[in-house]
């Protein structure tokens, strides 16, 4: 219901705004009206995204209301499908995405480096954290902490681990209870899970491998998505999930009393969904408009409040924002740097070596 009323309010606001004022912030350049006009002429925007349609819907509705005449075609797929489809279609010269919005940060940066993306200097850049964009081609859009998730029914408050070391200690202290009850990403199947673990090693050093080994000795259960892990934690089949996407846990916990989550105090990785504009976009102006919209205060506010993703703008307030997380965790927040550093493990030899090390650690 809340969503519906919000839509109504947003739509009314948008309509009244469009009658009297421009739909974009005042600090945009005066030439921006031309961009809007050009985008409206295109009339369409194709987005390939690895974000649930359900989560994206409030943003899409608001955008379409702000810029009437631009129809958004939103394609929800997983990160690998997204990448595969886009490069296949590009090679064939067929219609493909105008905007790519994916949580596979490494693949997005690879697209930039391989020359698949267009450069666009968004007027929102001054409002963004400096680590969150790369060469005016890839823009971070969210600030999503990587968390531990646990089953509230079956884990007492005293047991809940608050640091990576706590987690290892907990498992070691009661191996019987946690046998087959810890779950995390199968990093061979999930690129996102792979990125998280490599970042873990970067932030936590050698201690990370110790934690992985401890989890491995408990008979780790591996999944390829946060959603399937949440399901099994909720049912009690697993007790703790390691390296899960915080925004999904937050959204699930709102509906499901069994789900609890913690931001690890020693360090909390932060992932950001990256957005790029395709070089051969059929609707480049509409694509620019969308990028600006999603980075704007209005877009980010909606993203935090309605989509349950976390906003990376300092001027957005609320539970799911960078400001709130910073208040809570301060320096222990470790955002994954948007840049070529993400490409290291797309080198096949390095990747396979890392996978080998991981498999040895989890004893599989």
């Amino acid at each position: 219901m809340k969503t519906a009323t919000y839509f109504a309010a947003a739509t009314a606001l948008a309509l009244s705004l469009s009658a009297f004022a421009k739909p974009y912030p005042d600090h945009y350049p005066s030439s921006y009206a031309n961009l809007v006009a050009a985008a409206k002429k295109e009339g369409k925007l194709i987005i390939y995204a690895a974000t649930d349609t359900a989560a994206a819907r409030p943003l899409l509705k608001d955008f379409e209301a702000l810029y009437p005449g631009i129809k958004v075609e939103y394609n929800d797929m997983n990160t690998t499908e997204l990448y595969n489809r886009f490069i296949s279609e590009s090679a064939a010269g067929s219609t493909s995405a105008d905007v790519l919005w994916s949580s596979a940060m490494d693949l997005q940066i690879k697209l930039v480096n391989d020359g698949f993306t267009a450069s666009y200097s968004s007027p929102e850049i001054p409002k963004l954290p400096s680590w969150s964009y790369y060469q005016n081609q890839a823009y971070g859009t969210t600030y999503e902490p990587v968390v531990f998730v646990y089953n509230k029914r079956l884990l007492s408050a005293a047991e809940v681990p608050h640091t990576h070391a706590d987690l290892a200690k907990l498992i070691k202290g009661n191996p019987e209870k946690f046998k087959g009850k810890i779950t995390t990403y199968d990093i061979e199947k999930s690129g996102v899970g792979f990125t998280y673990l490599t970042q873990d090693v970067r932030a936590g050093g050698a201690a990370t491998w110790d934690i992985v080994r401890t989890m491995g000795s408990s008979g780790l259960r591996l999944q390829s998505s946060t959603g399937t892990m949440l399901e099994r934690i909720s049912s009690g089949e697993n007790l703790i999930g390691y390296n899960m996407i915080g925004s999904y846990a937050y959204a699930k916990a709102k509906k499901d009393p069994a789900i609890g989550y913690v931001y690890p105090k020693d360090y909390t990785l932060v992932m950001s969904r990256l957005m790029t504009i395709a070089k051969n976009a059929k609707n480049p102006n509409a694509a620019r408009l969308w990028v600006d919209y999603l980075l704007s205060k209005r877009g980010q506010t909606l993203l935090a409040q309605e989509s349950d993703l976390y906003s990376l703008r300092a001027d957005v307030t609320g539970e799911t924002t960078i400001s709130e997380l910073t208040k809570l965790l301060g320096n222990s927040l470790k955002p994954i740097q948007v840049g070529p550093g993400l490409l290291v493990y797309l080198d096949q030899a390095k990747r396979l070596e890392f996978l080998k090390q991981w498999r040895q650690a989890i004893q599989r």
Partner: protein, 578 residues
């Protein structure tokens, strides 16, 4: 076409090649055979070609290389997947063949109670997506599944584990019982029961009759079914994906799926290698099957016309087999379906959850709020109903092109038809995406249902052809010969004699193809785009994305659709097998 009025009767033509040459070529027929060859061979060739490259075939930096084969053969995961596939296929063989044969005997030859309503129930596993079954087992019989919880409450510990290799093989075996049942029961129906009666008159009990008389008589069909099941064992994808993945039990198809991501960027060449290897394992089985099929037909032909069938009274023992059948139904159909249904109506479940408090219909309301999911329902229905009809049309055309003929074209088509079954659906779908992307003139259809329909039609070619050929075989040749002897051309004979005679068979095929299309799930995964979503493939995508509630609710919708198809089929008196 009109010139084909040579007076040679078709049966004679097949045995007299010199006279057949006199007939002028039948353009339409060769067109059909040519098109069939094209739609089967092009994607297949693409897969083989891709397996011999070191990068996606559309990349400028690709080169011919055997590296992909080397990589796969050096990967221990491949060998363990292969081993697991063999284990699953063997498990399926051991479970489904004896069970299927016994079921067939009970249903066709004995006075088992409730046979009339049991038959459609027996076949349901064929028409339910394995993804649905797999997830149903997690909720119902997983470590904290609700049946497991009840069992634990009453008996202390749970003796089953659906996630183990044994569990997966057992579930796969139980769900493939209907495949064996179909072949054995139709073989039994084609045989008169006089021999069995003779044995009974001589004083043999039902068990003795089944073992010493019925079994040897249907041996060829049984062997055929055994090869089929073993072959299908290499193709199982949904069950190991849902049940085996978390504990690391790979099979060839899930190994292939895993390769999508292992190197971080698409490894089409590696996937293609696995597909080629699966084809290499299964093609010999297909050939073996064809040999056996030939023998089956000969065997049946020797027996000639079936006499009136007599049922074997089971006496007061009859409740025992009935109980066994019910137990099988309980484990194979009821448990997973009740699991998935329950999951669709709660927002949480598991250890210590009161299901009453968790009840909700929210999963369904959110389903209908999302236009892509609603489109998926409409599309699935459409591709089953209209696409199914179009597919039956194509199958019939191919069937007629080979009807009562026996030249090299027919033999080629016979083999071609079986090959797509050997390609894992996932990769077949990917190959079709490539075909539509890179074949000139097809690009416009890439984001249309035509793409999905064609992939489905080709992947299920073998199944569809069997249905059509079954119907065609039932037309007495003398009727067609009569038409030909009064001067009708082959085309006219087909149009005015053969087709009207098999119209009921066609209707039945349509309904069966409808259900198969509703259930299909792996082929469409790479073909999904806005506007062309189908339920089965969305289930795989949503599962991968972790939208479990939607998977459950959508599964229920899917099962309802298949159920409606089945009910309709029975209402129209469709026989579920030939």
């Amino acid at each position: 076409m009109t010139a084909v009025s040579s007076s040679a009767p078709p049966m004679a033509a097949s045995s007299a090649p010199t006279r057949r040459r006199a007939a002028s070529p039948d353009v339409l027929r060769w067109l059909v055979l040519g098109l069939t060859t094209l739609v089967v061979a092009v994607p297949l060739a693409l897969i083989v070609y891709q397996s011999l490259l070191n990068a996606p075939f559309f990349m400028p930096n690709k080169a011919l290389s055997l590296d992909a084969y080397r990589f796969v053969f050096a990967d221990p995961d491949f060998w363990s997947a292969l081993r697991n596939s063999v284990v699953i296929a063997s498990g399926m063989l051991l479970i489904s063949v004896p069970l299927g044969a016994v079921l067939a005997f009970l249903m066709t030859r004995t006075d088992l109670p409730g046979r009339r309503w049991l038959e459609p129930m027996l076949l349901t596993p064929v028409f339910i997506s394995p993804m649905v079954l797999g997830f149903g087992y997690v909720v119902a019989a997983g470590p904290v599944g609700f049946y497991s919880a009840w069992w634990q409450q009453w008996f202390g510990s749970v003796p089953w584990n659906p996630y183990s290799m044994l569990g997966i093989a057992a579930i796969a075996g139980l769900t493939h019982v209907p495949h064996v049942y179909l072949y054995c029961s139709s073989a039994l129906r084609n045989l008169g029961s006089d021999v069995e009666e003779a044995a009974r008159v001589a004083g043999a009990g039902p068990l003795r009759v089944a073992y010493d008389v019925s079994l040897p008589m249907i041996m060829p069909s049984l062997l055929f079914a055994a090869v089929l099941v073993f072959f299908l064992g290499f193709e199982v994808f949904g069950l190991p994906l849902v049940l085996g993945d978390p504990e690391g039990h790979l099979v060839l198809t899930t190994y292939l799926y895993k390769l999508t991501n292992k190197l971080g960027i698409p490894s089409y060449h590696l996937m293609a290698v696995v597909a080629v290897l699966i084809i290499l394992v299964t093609v010999p089985l297909v050939l073996l099957q064809r040999r056996l099929l030939r023998n089956t037909k000969r065997f049946v032909a020797v027996k000639g016309k079936a006499s009136r069938q007599q049922t074997l009274p089971l006496g007061h023992w009859r409740w025992l087999p009935f109980g066994l059948v019910m137990l099988w139904l309980l484990v194979t159909v009821f448990v997973p379906l009740s699991g998935i249904t329950l999951r669709a109506f709660v927002n949480q479940w598991g250890e210590g959850v009161s299901l009453w408090q968790a009840l909700t219909i929210e999963n369904f309301t959110t389903l209908f709020e999302q236009d892509n999911l609603v489109r998926a329902m409409v599309n699935s229905f459409g591709v089953g109903l209209l696409g199914g009809a179009a597919a039956v049309f194509c199958y019939t055309a191919i069937g007629l092109a080979g009807h009562r003929r026996n030249d090299w074209g027919v033999k080629l088509a016979d083999y071609l038809v079986l090959v797509p079954r050997a390609v894992p659906g996932l990769l077949a779908g990917l190959a079709f995406l490539w075909v539509f992307l890179f074949m000139p003139g097809l690009k416009e259809f890439k984001n249309s249902m035509i793409c999905i329909w064609l992939a489905y039609t080709v992947v299920w070619l073998a199944y569809g052809m069997r249905l059509i050929q079954g119907a065609l075989l039932q037309v007495g040749p003398e009727l067609e010969e009569a038409a030909r002897s009064v001067g009708a051309s082959r085309a006219q004979t087909s149009r005015h004699v053969t087709l009207p005679l098999i119209r009921h068979g066609l209707l039945a095929s349509w309904l069966l193809v409808f259900m198969i299309f509703e259930r299909e799930y792996s082929t469409g995964v790479y073909l999904l785009s806005p506007g062309t979503e189908v339920i089965g493939s969305l289930l795989v995508s949503l599962w991968a994305a972790g939208a479990v509630e939607q998977v459950a609710a959508l599964s229920v919708v899917n099962v309802l659709m298949v159920g409606a198809g089945l009910a309709l089929a029975l209402r129209f008196g469709v026989k579920l097998h030939d």
